[in-house]
């Protein structure tokens, strides 16, 4: 699979990673390498093998529906760049 420079820009935007025009070529080559790896894996014959969604063959452990957490807001917000009136503050976002 070959990727265009536009594909790279789009993927970078979706991942919120800044890729400068100089870096596009480099990233493109690396990503194509990864896609090549995926293509190689796709070519393995998996006929008769049930698809797995997870690397480990185990099932989800379920916990009882009980409240076990208490309010630790002060602690958590001491780590935040900005907080006020109990809220985490972020640059203004308006849709």
């Amino acid at each position: 699979m070959s990727l265009s420079a536009q594909d790279i820009e789009r993927i970078a935007h979706l991942a919120r990673i800044r890729v400068t025009p100089d870096e596009v070529g480099q990233v493109q080559a690396k990503l194509e390498g990864i896609f090549k790896l995926i293509d190689d894996m796709q070519s393995v014959n998996t006929k008769g093998v049930e698809p797995m969604s997870h690397g480990l063959d185990m099932v989800l452990r379920l916990r009882d529906d009980v409240v076990t957490e208490s309010n630790q807001r002060e602690k958590f917000q001491s780590n935040a760049p900005e907080a006020a009136e109990g809220y985490f503050l972020v640059p203004k976002v308006i849709e």
Binding site: V66, V90, K92
Partner: protein
């Protein structure tokens, strides 16, 4: 308008009634101070891992069983990736390829009494995002993550509805059902039950669907109706003007009654779903399934059937009384208090529902309890009061003037006059003044009799037994 067909599908986010969040032990209680119910998992602190809440899985299964759906005993959680400040992980945990519930459906009843089966595509478990506030701080948005991680069941229909009325009827039926099952509190103001409505139009007879627009986050049935009506008109006008509909997400503005595009799907998000490596498959064991089946309450469909067979109610009345849990509980409480079921149905769908609508109250807030209504009906049944007087008694109970029907009847002297002598006396007085009507009646005008009966009822202040009045007048004039 008639040459256009409306196509509607709904996606409803139902907040589950668990005490704790879907992947953490934080409380889900509504209204707490910002960020006081957000733990390391909800905040996406590095290294924090999700642990699935059994209660959320059970509620999803309960729903699936109630709508006759296929329960996937092995379902898979996936990451839905997008960036927004109220989604700290950068992805929402949801289900994509294999949801816990697939297929099934529910029957809706329209105002004209016709019914329609609405097929569901799926229902999947997911976590809610946090909340952003944009107007509280000058140059910043505030983020409250109390809601982040609250369990949701997203219920998706096929695009099978053909009018706004059908969509509302479906939303109401679904709302009734989740409350019956006690898997959601149904509180629309608090956002426990939110509907996204997909609307498109197409020329009547065309097979292909038109381009749809999605109206997001409708939190009342009234707004839903207004939003759909506006959206349908808008789409038809666009097409008739030769313009194309562009797939978009729109918001409804209750103040203007209009819908407006929030974002077009052209720059739409690519969510890049993939199975969440933190969460192996969710398995619903046979034992869990059997236990939930055992605990299923009587559902609206079954109740409706029972009301028609056991109480001989009409299909229409039975549906209205069984559709929501509170209404059915009120009805059954009144019947348990020995009131005639048919009269209870008439009163609930007539006087009571009119009074509730007038004061915008829900049946849980009714000032007249089921027991009090049963008391009113009992006094009609034993001929203590007429139907008309019963309405006066009902109103007195509604306004809180008295605690029981008997108290009102006693205090206001409303007891029906069934004493033949007393009625005859009033009849004689009226007849003495009604020569013209008597002559009309004798010449064969049945209507004249009604007018005499009316005068007698008036003279008795509505308290004479109407059947007896009728009989006595006829006897005296024969």
């Amino acid at each position: 308008m008639s040459q256009w067909e409306i196509v509607i599908g709904l996606e409803t986010h139902v907040q589950l009634t668990t005490a704790s969040k879907i992947f953490s032990g934080s409380s889900t209680a509504f209204g707490a101070a910002p960020n006081t119910q957000a733990s390391v998992v909800d905040l996406a602190m590095p290294g924090a891992l999700p642990v699935m809440n059994k209660g959320a899985a059970e509620r999803a299964v309960k729903f699936g069983l109630a709508i006759g759906a296929k329960i996937n005993q092995r379902s898979i959680f996936a990451r839905k990736n997008y960036f927004y400040p109220d989604l700290p992980k950068g992805y929402q945990i949801s289900q994509y390829e294999t949801p816990i519930v697939e297929g099934g459906g529910l029957t809706i009843t329209l105002d004209d009494g016709t019914t329609k089966f609405i097929e569901l595509t799926r229902a999947h478990l997911e976590e809610d995002a946090g909340k952003s506030v944009h107007d509280q701080f000058d140059n910043a948005s505030g983020v409250d993550l109390n809601r982040a991680g609250t369990p949701l069941l997203e219920i998706v229909t096929e695009p099978v509805m053909r009018s706004g009325k059908e969509a509302i009827a479906y939303a109401k039926a679904l709302h009734g059902l989740v409350r019956y099952l006690d898997i959601c509190d149904g509180n629309m103001q608090e956002g426990s039950f939110r509907c996204d409505v997909n609307v498109s139009v197409r020329p009547m007879g065309q097979k292909e669907f038109g381009t749809r627009r999605e109206i997001k986050n409708l939190n009342s049935f009234k707004f839903m109706q207004q939003a759909i009506d506006y959206e349908v008109r808008w789409q038809i006008e666009q097409i008739e003007d030769g313009k194309k509909i562009v797939q978009a997400t729109v918001l409804f503005n209750p103040d203007t009654g209009e819908t407006r595009a929030m974002r077009t799907k052209e720059d739409a998000m690519d969510y890049r779903y993939f199975p969440d490596p933190d969460l192996p498959p969710l398995v619903v064991t046979d034992a869990m399934l059997a236990k939930i089946k055992n605990e299923m309450p009587e559902l609206p469909e079954a109740k409706c059937a029972r009301y028609t067979s056991e109480f001989k109610l009409s299909e229409y009345d039975a549906r209205l009384l069984s559709q929501d849990r509170a209404t059915s509980e009120y009805f059954e409480a009144a019947v348990a208090a020995k009131a005639d079921p048919k009269l209870v149905a008439n009163w609930m769908l007539g006087e009571l529902s009119a009074a509730l609508n007038r004061e915008e109250k829900s049946i849980e807030e009714s000032p007249v309890s089921a027991h009090q209504l049963a008391g009113v009906i009992a006094r009609i049944g034993d001929a203590t009061i007429s139907n008309k007087i019963a309405k006066t008694v009902f109103e007195a109970l509604w306004s809180g003037e008295a605690k029981s029907a008997d108290e009102v009847i006693e205090a206001k002297g409303l007891k029906q006059i069934s004493d033949v002598g007393a009625i005859e006396k009033i009849v004689d007085e009226v007849l003495a003044k009604s020569a013209a009507q008597i002559a009309d009646y004798k010449s064969g005008k049945e209507k004249a009799l009604m007018s005499i009966v009316g005068m007698v009822m008036k003279a008795s202040a509505g308290k004479a037994n109407p059947a007896q009045v009728n009989e006595i007048i006829k006897k005296k004039l024969s």
